[in-house]
C-alpha cells in the first residue's frame, strides 16, 4: 500500500463535501430503520422481534441510499483527475493510474467503512435508548449484517471508482448508480439466483430481517455468496487496476 498516496487522497477530499454526503447516508438509513419500528403497530417493544423491525428498516434503507451516494463519492474523487489531468501528473511523479485508483479505494473505503459501522451502531443505540426495546439485541446477527453490508458497499465503491476512472463522462457512472439503486431495491422481490447476477443484488442477499404475515422475522444472511462476491471483486479490481498501470497516461 502506498501510504503517502492514500494520505494525499484524504487531502484531495477538501471541498468535496464527503462529510455532507456521508451524513446524508447515515441519517437516511437511521431514519428509515426507526420509521420501520414506529410505523408498525404490531411491534411489541418487550419482544425481541422489535430488533428485527430495525434490521428490516436498515435492510431496505441501505440499498435505497447507498448505491447512488457511493457512485457520487467515487465520481467526485475520481473526476478531479480527468478535470486537471491528474493521471499524467501522478504518473510522472511515479504513481501509476492503477495505483492512484487503489489509493482512492483505500481512502474512500475507509470513509465508507466508518459510515457503515456508524449507521449500524446508531440504529442499535436508538433501539436501546430512544425506542427502549427491552430484550437484549441480537448482537451476533447484527454484526454479521453490518459486515455483509460493508462488504457489498465496498464492492460497489470499487466498481464505481473503476467506471469513473475509465469513462470520462460521469453520466455513465451516475446512470449506472441510478440503475444500481433500482436493482438493489427490486432484487428483494426476485428469486435469489437473479440477485447473484449483479453486485447490487447482493444487498438483498444481506437482508437481515423482513415482515412476514404479522411480525418481523430474522432471515439468514447469505455469507458464502457475499464472501464469494468479495473475493471475485478483489480479484477483478486488482486485474483492472494493473491493466490501468499499463496504459499511457
Amino acid at each position: 500500500m502506498n501510504a503517502p498516496a492514500v494520505i494525499n487522497e484524504f487531502a484531495k477530499m477538501r471541498h468535496l463535501k464527503v462529510g455532507v454526503f456521508g451524513l446524508a447516508m447515515v441519517v437516511a438509513v437511521v431514519a428509515l430503520a426507526l420509521f420501520a419500528l414506529v410505523s408498525n403497530p404490531d411491534v411489541d417493544l418487550g419482544d425481541s422481534s422489535a430488533w428485527n423491525a430495525l434490521l428490516a428498516g436498515m435492510s431496505l434503507g441501505i440499498p435505497l441510499v447507498s448505491p447512488l451516494l457511493l457512485a457520487v463519492l467515487a465520481s467526485r474523487q475520481t473526476d478531479m483527475e480527468h478535470q486537471g489531468n491528474g493521471w499524467l501528473l501522478q504518473a510522472t511523479s511515479g504513481l501509476t493510474p492503477g495505483g492512484l485508483c487503489r489509493a482512492k479505494f483505500m481512502a474512500l473505503g475507509l470513509v465508507v467503512a466508518v459510515l457503515t459501522v456508524v449507521q449500524s451502531l446508531l440504529v442499535l443505540l436508538a433501539g436501546k435508548v430512544l425506542a427502549g426495546i427491552l430484550p437484549p439485541a441480537p448482537l451476533g446477527h447484527w454484526a454479521g449484517f453490518t459486515l455483509c453490508m460493508l462488504a457489498v458497499n465496498l464492492v460497489v465503491l470499487a466498481m464505481h471508482i473503476l467506471i469513473s476512472a475509465k469513462v470520462e463522462n460521469q453520466l455513465v457512472a451516475l446512470g449506472i448508480g441510478v440503475l444500481g439503486t433500482l436493482l438493489a431495491v427490486f432484487s428483494q422481490g426476485l428469486p435469489p439466483v437473479a440477485a447473484h447476477l449483479t453486485p447490487w443484488g447482493y444487498y438483498s442477499l444481506a437482508l437481515a430481517a423482513d415482515y412476514d404475515v404479522s411480525e418481523y422475522v430474522t432471515l439468514p444472511l447469505a455469507y458464502p455468496s457475499i464472501a464469494a462476491l468479495t473475493l471475485v471483486a478483489a480479484l477483478l479490481f486488482t486485474v483492472f487496476t494493473s491493466r490501468f498501470d499499463r496504459q499511457e497516461a
Binding site: 463535501k17 454526503f21 446524508a24 437516511a28 431514519a31 441510499v65 447512488l68 451516494l69 457512485a71 457520487v72 465520481s75 467526485r76 473526476d79 463522462n169 460521469q170 453520466l171 455513465v172 457512472a173 451516475l174 446512470g175 448508480g177 441510478v178 440503475l179 439503486t181 433500482l182 436493482l183 431495491v185 427490486f186 422481490g189 426476485l190 428469486p191 437473479a194
Partner: protein, 249 residues
C-alpha cells in the same frame, strides 16, 4: 429561439438517450419482474402495473433522472473555456436560463412518453391484460411532463452553480427523500418543493403514500398553482444569479 436551437445542437452525441430511454424502461421491467417471476396476472390489472412502476418512479428515480440530464446539459459549459464563452457571449442571460431549463424539461417529457409506452407494452405483452391503460393515466403522464418543469429549472440552476457532475444528483436524491417524508407529514404544504411536486403528481390516483386514490379538482389545483409559482420564481432567481457571475481565469 436561437439559444434553444444551440442547446439542441449541444445534445448531439451527448449520451442523453441512455437516461431518457433506459431509466423508464428498466423501471417498468423491474417493477413488474416480481409479478412476472411468480407468474399470473396482477390482482388489479392495469392499476397494479401502473402503481408498481410509476408509483416508485415518482419517489426518487424521476428526480435523479432529471438531475442527471441537468448535469449533462450544463457539463459542456463547465469544460475548457466554454464558461468564459458563455459569460462573454451576446446571448441574454434569461434566454440561456430558459433554453437550458426547457431542454431538460423536454428530455424529461420524452422520458415520460417512454414510460407510458413501456407500461402499455408491459401490460399487453408481459401480462396479456385485456383492454387498454385507463385514460386517466395518460392524463397523469401529460401532467407529469408539465409538472417536471420546476424541478428541471431547479436542477438546471444547481448544475449551473456546481461544476461537479455528481453533486446535483446527490442533492436530488436527498431532497426527494426529504420531500416524500414532508408530503406524508404536512400534506400539500410540501408542494413548495419541486421534488414533492413531481412525487405528488406521479402518485395521483395510486392511493399510495399521501394519495387518497381518486383524482379530483381539489388535488389538481394546488399542484398546478405550485408549479406556475415555482417556475416563475426559479427562472427569475437563476437569471439574477447567472447575471452576477463572471468569467473564470
Amino acid at each position: 429561439m436561437g439559444a434553444f436551437n444551440a442547446e439542441l445542437l449541444k445534445l448531439k452525441r451527448s449520451l442523453s438517450w441512455p437516461v431518457v430511454v433506459l431509466l423508464p424502461v428498466s423501471l417498468v421491467l423491474m417493477g413488474a419482474a416480481t409479478q412476472l417471476a411468480q407468474g399470473g396476472q396482477p390482482d388489479d390489472g392495469w392499476h397494479t402495473v401502473w402503481v408498481q412502476s410509476v408509483g416508485f418512479y415518482g419517489l426518487f428515480p424521476l428526480a435523479t433522472g432529471i438531475a442527471i440530464i441537468g448535469s449533462l446539459v450544463w457539463r459542456c459549459e463547465h469544460r475548457g473555456s466554454n464558461w468564459n464563452a458563455l459569460m462573454s457571449g451576446p446571448t441574454p442571460t434569461l434566454h440561456i436560463v430558459v433554453a437550458k431549463g426547457l431542454v431538460i424539461a423536454g428530455l424529461t417529457a420524452i422520458m415520460q412518453v417512454v414510460l407510458l409506452i413501456s407500461v402499455i407494452l408491459m401490460g399487453k405483452l408481459g401480462f396479456g391484460l385485456p383492454g387498454m391503460l385507463p385514460g386517466q393515466y395518460v392524463g397523469i403522464t401529460v401532467l407529469l411532463a408539465l409538472m417536471a418543469l420546476p424541478i428541471a429549472f431547479l436542477q438546471s440552476a444547481l448544475s449551473m452553480l456546481i461544476r461537479s457532475f455528481a453533486a446535483p444528483i446527490a442533492v436530488a436524491l436527498v431532497a426527494s427523500g426529504i420531500s416524500v417524508v414532508a408530503l406524508n407529514v404536512v400534506g400539500d404544504a410540501a408542494l413548495a418543493s419541486p421534488y414533492a411536486l413531481v412525487t405528488r403528481t406521479a402518485l395521483l390516483g395510486t392511493g399510495t403514500f399521501s394519495d387518497p386514490g381518486s383524482v379530483t379538482a381539489g388535488d389538481l389545483i394546488p399542484i398546478l398553482a405550485a408549479a406556475v409559482f415555482l417556475v416563475l420564481a426559479l427562472v427569475v432567481a437563476s437569471t439574477v444569479i447567472l447575471e452576477r457571475r463572471d468569467t473564470r481565469v
